[in-house]
């Protein structure tokens, strides 16, 4: 392990570089930009889950006051498709509509009110068709066919060993069906974009997003423009969590079509209701699991068959499914595996990326099964995990041999010791306390499922006064990338953090750097920045060496100076000298990930370059009279490789844990016949400050050689293990096991009733 340098900015609690503007309210989000002559866009959407489009009252809408443009599929100048993984989703529906809220037309108007009014006046002629609104019926023989012959977007498998024999030999087998709901991202800033036509027929789009290069691709295709004529600039983004991975491509094309048709700036800001009803969510899942162990407590076999509800179009489902299957056995040694995973089509809103990306669903099942096995075996849940948890040198369920940065056992032991003694079971006459645990892992980066995108660029430049500016192709959406990257550049160049500036992420500044997803931004862009800093450091050293009467290999760059064994020189003097000599202190960096493999026929291979690890210990209280579960404490241990910014890491752990708690206890989209019934924060309940427990982040640092200063991405992981830990804690407290999320008071109460009945 590298020695920690006490003066290093890496591993500090440096305050975020954007905090001041944000506390003052001066930071500009997309809705804060107003342009003269700007048009306002509204989207005409399908009111039915499935039907054949036959016409509209277009002429009437065009004649409405304030309306400048009315656009339908036939008005699209380029390709009518939103490129994601496949290209099955149109920008504006043509032929059939496949879900409630599917975009059909666009209004561009002088005021938001005029746009909204015209939108409300839109009449679509649609011949209704039978719809699939229950994912469990999607593969029924007589179900309407939405995708292929079977309504299956993707079917993935994982096979190893011999499951059948293993089950025959097993001492204990547990089996269960688990259900998990939609989860809405509920980022506080709704989706929004502003498109502005520029000279030479180019289009600039500014807005809230995770993946500017996806947006660029979509806008170019829909407008029929070369990529070179489409420039995407990210505005400060008010939370994303995966919800601004693919969806901004839709929003941007909607705004850009109006801008293109009218030659005027066009702005589109979704209302909260529009955002909740029409944009992606976490895939609901139905999971059947059979798990076996021998009598010594060794995991023998996992057999699983599950579906994710992909909704009406594939969007990101194939890659979400891929991540989910890689995580579907959990972080354990298991010699015999048979998993079948399918993303199925329904006439519901397309599901997509959400922190964890298909893994929270399978981990809920896996970690519930682990506790049930432990229970059957009479082994403590923590001890059962200890026996089976992967360590360095072990093989994962995909057959990957783990090498460095395997902090699994440290997270387990550190979380347990932070948690201390479990609370007394009996709290009051009606309340019972319980403790639950989960151990999980997270494949860092895109992995083999997205290897073609696993590259990123950066530029760095030292300016005359010794300050530095850098650009990357990944995005800040609240997670703290900008600050962490600023620290990395400051450390690499010996420049004070306050004098390092990141430019807004902009497709015209760096080459296509792939998406900001999969917890990859800090590691990928961090590595690209280090590669850009390398030639700059070499130049500084080459210039400094003669000034210090030594050779470059003897030099060290520390904060503000270059040192030889005998002398030092202020960095600024070297920079001055460089400018004097017309040396180049700007450079581009590039980083790509190599070495992941995956065999689709067996689900075996080196799925990810490395993994993050985590253990959650959760203490709860259950009120047996009401079924209300109160989370008292969460001890969340995460192996992050190296914490570049301690405060930022804690913030990710705290925020992710609370999102995980919402998923576990309260968040549920009510969808009836494909219509979302609770598209407000008063009915889609997310945790508030009064619902949140004490959270104790436990940072484990087992450095990852491939990451900047040893860091590895982990931002999604804090959400992923909370739900099973809470379910396990409920079982510990009151002896009922609930296999369906969320664990609402109604479900807990019903389970308690059932248990009492059974005992009578």
């Amino acid at each position: 392990m590298k020695k920690k340098n006490p003066t290093s900015i890496i591993g500090s609690r440096t305050a975020r570089s954007d905090a001041l503007a944000k506390v003052c309210g001066t930071e500009k989000f997309v809705a804060d930009y107003m342009y003269d002559g700007m048009l306002h866009v509204a989207v005409i959407r399908s009111p039915v889950p499935h039907g054949e489009l036959q016409g509209s009252n277009r002429r009437e809408l065009e004649a409405m006051p304030g309306v400048v443009a009315v656009l339908f599929a036939e008005d699209i100048p380029g390709k009518n498709c939103i490129p994601v993984v496949l290209s099955d989703m149109p920008c504006l529906a043509t032929g059939n509509v496949l879900y409630v809220g599917e975009p059909v037309g666009l209004i561009g108007a002088e005021t938001p009110e005029a746009a909204r009014k015209a939108c409300a006046a839109a009449r679509l002629d649609i011949r209704p068709l039978p719809a699939i609104t229950d994912p469990e019926k999607s593969r029924d023989e007589n179900a309407p066919k939405l995708y292929g012959d079977e309504n299956v977007f993707t079917h993935l498998v994982m096979r190893s060993g011999d499951v059948q024999t293993a089950f025959q030999k097993a001492s204990v087998i547990v089996e269960g069906t688990y259900r998990t709901p939609y989860q809405e991202h509920a980022y506080l800033e709704p989706q929004g974009m502003i498109a502005t036509p520029e000279g030479d027929g180019a289009m600039k789009v500014t807005g809230s997003m995770q993946c500017p290069f996806y947006v660029q691709d979509a806008v170019a295709q829909v407008l029929g423009l070369p990529l070179a004529k489409v420039r995407i600039v990210q505005s400060t983004t008010g939370g994303a969590f995966g919800g601004k991975e693919d969806v901004p491509s839709f929003v941007a094309t909607q705004a850009a079509l109006v801008a293109h048709a009218t030659g005027r700036s066009a702005r589109l800001i979704y209302s909260r209701e529009e955002d909740i009803t029409t944009t992606s969510k976490r895939h609901p899942a139905v999971l059947h699991y059979r798990t076996a162990a021998d009598k010594k407590g060794n995991l023998l076999a996992v057999e699983a068959d599950y579906i994710l509800d992909g909704g009406a179009y594939t969007t990101l489902s194939p890659v979400v499914l891929w991540r989910s299957i890689v995580h579907s056995v959990g972080p354990y040694r298991c010699p015999n595996i048979k998993v079948d995973a399918r993303a199925v089509a329904t006439n519901r809103v397309p599901c997509g990326a959400f922190r964890g990306f298909g893994s929270p669903q399978v981990l809920f099942a896996v970690e519930s099964q682990m506790d049930r096995l432990a229970d059957e075996l009479g082994i403590e849940p923590a001890e059962f995990r200890r026996r089976n948890l992967l360590k360095s040198g072990d093989k994962t369920s995909t057959g990957q041999v783990l090498k460095d940065s395997v902090g699994s056992h440290q997270t387990l032991e550190n979380a347990l010791s932070a948690a201390g003694k479990a609370p007394e079971k009996k709290v009051s006459s009606s309340k019972r306390a319980g403790r639950g645990i989960s151990t999980i892992f997270y494949g860092v980066g895109l992995g083999a499922g997205g290897e073609h995108l696993a590259r990123t660029g950066a530029t760095v430049q030292i300016l005359r006064d010794g300050s530095a500016v850098f650009s990357v192709g990944t995005t800040e959406m609240g997670q703290g990338m900008r600050t962490a990257l600023g620290q990395i550049v400051a450390e690499a160049l010996g420049i004070p953090f306050e004098r390092v500036q990141m430019t807004a992420t902009d497709t015209s500044r760096v080459p296509d750097s792939g998406p900001t997803v999969a917890s990859r931004a800090t590691t990928m862009s961090g590595n690209a920045l280090l590669s850009a800093c390398k030639p700059i450091r070499e130049t500084l050293f080459a210039v400094a060496a003669p000034l210090l009467n030594t050779t470059t290999d003897k030099l060290k760059l520390t904060q503000g100076q270059i040192e030889s064994p005998s002398k030092t020189i202020p960095l600024q003097d070297v920079i001055d000298e460089c400018f004097q000599r017309r040396e180049n202190l700007a450079a581009e960096g590039w980083y790509r990930v190599e070495g992941t493999t995956f065999d689709k026929s067996t689900g075996q291979g080196d799925a990810y370059v490395t993994y993050a690890w985590s253990t959650n210990v959760v203490d709860i209280e259950v009120d047996t009279e009401t079924g209300v579960v109160e989370v008292k404490r969460i001890f969340a241990a995460h192996d992050v490789g190296r914490a570049v910014n301690v405060s930022g890491v804690e913030g990710q752990i705290e925020g992710g844990s609370v999102q995980g708690m919402g998923y576990a206890l309260m968040e549920d989209i009510l969808s009836e016949d494909g219509v979302i019934r609770n598209p407000q924060f008063s009915t889609y309940i997310i945790p508030t400050a009064v619902d949140t427990p004490e959270i104790k982040p436990v940072i484990v640092e087992v450095p990852f050689e491939g990451g900047p200063f040893g860091a590895k991405g982990f931002g999604e992981q804090p959400l992923m293990g909370i739900a099973p830990a809470i379910a396990n804690a409920i079982s510990d407290a009151v002896g009922v096991r609930i296999n369906e999320l969320p664990l609402t008071p109604e479900r807990v109460f019903a389970a308690l009733n059932q248990k009492n009945k059974n005992e009578d």
Partner: protein, 156 residues
Amino acid sequence: MKISFTLNGKPISRDVAPDKRLIDFLREDLGLIGTKEGCGKGECGSCTVLMDGEAVCSCLLLCAQVQGRHITTIEGVQSGNELHPVQQAFIETGAVQCGFCTPGFVMSSAALLEKNPEPNEDEIRRAVAGNLCRCTGYSKIVKGIRIAGKRMREKS
């Protein structure tokens, strides 16, 4: 109609449609963009401003309702160049991530500390229960309010 009220300590008088929402008047007519709209329905608190010292949702108020009142927005919460103690503490504790909710939290917290300079944990959490934050998990926000309260007490 003409409305007159005090905005961030200064009198203001403007012609506005009486049914214009206060948030739109602030943001669109006056360019005070620090007040954010997260839901438009009084459910998220991003649009919180102070009316006569009380935290209120500016998305639910119509301009006619602020006639003669004192309104403070995030732009008016500092004194001169000095940040409000809550703003300062939020920077230090790491209470800010995406920052979209932050102005609303600053306003609700400022209102709390004005009325109750020594709130306990429970009172802090209840005072900001109408403000949603999806990023932070609230720990560092609550800590920031506690620190700000302490500093304000020490100062006065």
